[in-house]
Amino acid sequence: MRRVALTGIGVIAPVGVGRDAVWSALIGGQSGIGRIEEFDTTNLKTNIAGLCREFKPECFFDERELSRLDRVSQLAVAASELAVRDAGLSNGLLDSYDAGVVLGTGFGGQASIEEFCGAFFGNERARKSAIAIPKSMYNASSSNIAIRLKTRGPNITITTACSSGANAIGQAFHLIRYGHAERMIAGGADAPVTPVVMDAWKEMRVLSTKNDPPERACKPFSANRDGFVLAEGAGIVVLEEMSAARERGARILAEVMGYGSTADAAHITFPCPEGESQAMLRALKDAQVGSDEIDHVNAHGTATRLNDVSETEAIKRVLGNRAFEIPVNSIKSMIGHSMGAAGAIEFIATVLAITEQVVPPTINYEEKDPQCDLDYVTEGARPMDGRVRIRTAMSNSFGFGGNNAVLVVRKFE
């Protein structure tokens, strides 16, 4: 079976731009959650979100390009550029029918469609645009990446809510493993912090309303958690067929080992430990890795009561006693929930935990929940030294719709 190497990382998150900046913020336990200043939040119960304030689109695009790209495309294309640069890939290797893109997004070009709808429904401050469709369509971001990088192979957009980014990386991994591509740009991007989306989530009563201070709002696995914090961001990885990566002398960060994907087929929003654990088991089987070989789980960990309990149960079902011995973290505590980007950014954090041998913390943990009884790394970043090293790790992503996607990644050996 063909092996798949991970050779580049591009990430834009509320805590920073680029692999090094994001990583040092994560292991420093820094929160990227802040007050929303971009629009009026008077009628919302939540006035905080994870916004990528350090992302300067003008460093990647000229004004004409910016006018053509919704913010989600700006995030996706910029993160792809960073990933390709990190991989040391020259354009010649991407300008090929054997190179492609799989991108996950939950909301697509939401801001562009809201702007058009505003004008349509008579808001005098909103403006119609003749290009609202090509800016807002869900596949705009993946297409814009291909246009920018000249990848001519498969170009696929996956929208499975909060598991989109993980599904995208998993599908890209399989495209390479089974011979349909040599190199893939894969990950997720979302820019859903808009007035309409915030209001719709408000009505669903799943957002944290712990507005003060913003950085302490998101409390995954803690008994006093009250919901997730909406965020934006993009996480992109470069995947390459192992021998092709070696041939060009690429620095190999890790090996993608397995991918499992299931549907709960139960309820549109209510999570189900059975579907989640089956996705984890299938990822292990796909990786040909035993449950006792998993050294770390990067959890979906949204900080909703339903997710955290269901996920903890699923992890215990799959890993048994091993579940209590290994670090399980949620970086959503720091960067919020970036929907279709979350699974990709968290997978990147999982890879970096392996390369750096440090597990970022779950911050804001305050009260023990008897139903959430794993080791959630609540004391601060945990260096993995001595006997307990991370060789193989798992990243969980579970989305509305009952979509579950799990990735297994291993230290490159």
Partner: protein
């Protein structure tokens, strides 16, 4: 049409082109070609048409848009449209 009115139509048209194509106003002469000289494409043409419709409260027929090649074409097209309506 008075010369002031003609001048103001030209100014509005130029402002719209500058806004949509992010070009410097000094680049716009009557013979400036939107695609060849300013790098516009068909999507830009659609946005310019939309802004012209809003600014002058007119309806630009589909078949007129491909004839809007230069700054002068657009100014003349808008003037004629306003005259006949």
């Amino acid at each position: 049409m008075t010369s002031e009115a003609a001048q103001s139509i030209e100014d509005v048209v130029k402002n719209i082109i500058v806004g949509e194509l992010r070009v410097d106003p000094s680049q716009l002469a009557p013979e400036t070609h939107l695609m060849k000289d300013l790098g516009a494409d068909s999507l830009d043409a659609l946005n310019i048409a939309l802004r012209l419709e809003e600014a002058f409260k007119i309806k630009i027929p589909d078949e007129a848009i491909p004839r809007f090649l230069t700054v002068g074409d657009i100014v003349k097209g808008v003037q004629e449209h306003l005259k006949t309506n």
